[in-house]
């Protein structure tokens, strides 16, 4: 294990080499797997206070510390820290960069040990279950048998769901935010638009761009622009931008006349600085392949039945049309049918899917109550 740095005494970040090969759902085996991770807070003496926070599609391990690429203070600083919902004075928070990612974990931009060249498209297709499998191995190598909680929003929630299916005896509680038990046709369709944009960029070079020293930035930016629309609600876009123009009058051309165009272009441009195009292909594929019930013969309740002893907190957001409340209700129904201890609230918000990343007081109040009660029951 390489500990790269310790920005504060109770924070660490590093990269850990899994001490065994990773057998993937596809049947392929990854021999050498690195997982980049951050930790916050301190592991208690009986190793019972660890919380795994799983990130969304374009997130990373920097949940509450400065991201070295963007210089920003993590993607969830409002929720993670001393005295916050995920209280680093009480819990030992672990966050990893997912398998297939591009922030230090093994992914398509990593060097293939067999060839000495970047994997590119020779990287095996991975799944949400493969990501969770790598995390479980990392947690074991950190010397932790059972997590107090596995939490995540969006794709992070899918990893948490997969944990509940595959490792229910290694977790006490599970937090699922703005997530779904499977990808819908609409979800897959939007991802396909993004992938086609990347693959249509001449600089993608059949996925071999890293070896050839170019980057499919235009394609990746378009993919991000399309996806970003799905993270926001129509009313929020309207309120923020309406039909406001960038400058006085129309250009009578194809410059970014409207503020919303300029905003999306900025989102696309900023994204290519921090994300790898092939990682985007692989991770969106993993999302599209996700269907938790499939592993249990198509019945979600059977997939979740082993998790009957886990405490669940499921939160959805009223204006989220990417993973709408109806998807969370499917999860909650299955949990009830499985006899699990489930709590569920739909939070009123007009901020769309990304509401879970923001400071939503009702989300915080609900999670504070849930975690505090679970922590007390767990003796933390």
């Amino acid at each position: 294990m390489t500990v790269l740095s310790s920005p504060r005494p109770d924070q660490t970040e590093g990269v850990l080499r899994l001490n065994q090969p990773l057998c993937l759902d596809s049947g392929q085996v990854l021999r050498e797997v690195d997982i980049a991770y951050c930790t916050y807070g301190r592991l208690n003496a009986d190793r019972s206070n660890a919380v795994l926070i799983c990130h969304a599609l374009t997130g990373d391990q920097y949940v509450a510390s400065t991201n070295p690429v963007t210089g920003r203070a993590g993607w969830w600083p409002v929720m993670v820290g001393p005295g916050r919902t995920f209280d680093t004075d009480r819990y030992f928070i672990i966050s990893t960069n997912v398998l297939g990612g591009c922030m230090g974990s093994t992914g398509p931009s990593s060097i293939d040990p067999d060839t000495g060249q970047p994997f590119g498209l020779s990287f095996p297709v991975i799944t949400i279950a493969d990501m969770a499998r790598a995390q479980a191995q990392l947690v074991s190598q950190l010397g932790i048998e059972t997590l107090f909680c596995v939490a995540g929003g969006s794709m992070g929630g899918m990893q948490a769901l997969e944990w509940a299916r595959a490792n229910p005896d290694r977790m006490y509680a599970c937090v699922l935010l703005a997530t779904a038990p499977r990808h819908s046709a609409q979800n897959i369709a939007f991802h396909e638009v993004g992938r086609q944009a990347i693959m249509a960029d001449p600089d993608w070079r059949g996925g071999d761009y890293a070896r050839l020293g170019v980057r499919p930035e235009k394609g990746l930016a378009v993919a991000r622009m399309a996806a970003h629309i799905t993270y926001l609600s129509e009313p929020a876009l309207q309120r923020k931008f309406g039909r406001e123009l960038q400058r006085d009058g129309l250009s009578w051309g194809f410059d970014a006349d409207f503020q919303v165009e300029s905003y999306l272009r900025h989102q696309g441009a900023a994204f290519v600085d921090r994300f790898d195009a092939n990682s985007y292909l692989y991770i969106t594929r993993a999302l599209d392949y996700f269907d938790l019930a499939q592993a249990a013969g198509g019945k979600l309740v059977d997939a979740l039945r082993p998790a009957a002893e886990v405490r669940f907190c499921v939160l959805s957001f009223s204006s989220d049309w990417l993973y709408p409340t109806s998807e969370s209700r499917v999860i909650v129904r299955a949990l009830n049918a499985a006899g699990a201890r489930a709590s569920f609230v739909e939070i009123e918000s007009d901020k769309g899917h990304d509401a879970f990343l923001l400071d939503e007081p009702i989300m915080r109040a609900a999670l504070n109550g849930f975690l505090d009660a679970a922590g007390t029951a767990r003796g933390l």
Binding site: C313, V332, A337, S343, F344, V345, A365, G369, T376
Partner: protein, 228 residues
Amino acid sequence: MGNGRQMGQPLYAADREDFREIVRLVRPGARVLDVGCGSGELLQLLRDEKQIDGRGIEIGAEGVSACLAKGLAVIQGDADRDLAEYPPMSFDYAILSQTLQAVRAPKEVLSNLLRLAERAIVSFPNFGHWRVRMSLLTTGRMPDTRSLPIPWYETPNIHLCTLRDFTELCAELNLRIEASSAVSPTHPARSIDCQSPLENWRSESALFLLSRKSAATAVTHRPGDLFA
């Protein structure tokens, strides 16, 4: 359905006496589902006094949030839509406190309660109470009483019934009435003969402990048909 205890005006004002009687009836350590649990006062009371393993269903987000803050396991949902998903006999008691009159399909809800739990505890304002009868008789308008203080155009109570109506429904559904009592905001609960016409005049609100007479004659319920 069941947001009455969550915000502002209660569906019915006798909650406290109601709760005391429910706490008395519930066996220690039981598995309990409180349907329309508001901000969780009853579940908390049952947890503290009877060490129950409790779950709740509540329609309002603020109520659910308040429940979570109390450490209760509660889902946002409603009695009409969300009971069918629970497996049979997953609870010892299902509680429907002052909520039956506010559900869309009381008969289905009642059937469902006794499908998912061995016993149901159901309380409701008695529309046969003398104050209600007098109010209608003397004013010719929808009753405005201390137990039903909300005007007809605003009330969530869409399926009001009398003690007699309810006991007849129990008979139709083949339910055994194990106990019945009258509750009011001002007096402790008292055990009643629920068949007595006099009690139908006297009882401001009624509370029943119900079970199925026998599994063989139980009303079968297809899971999921409330979603159809």
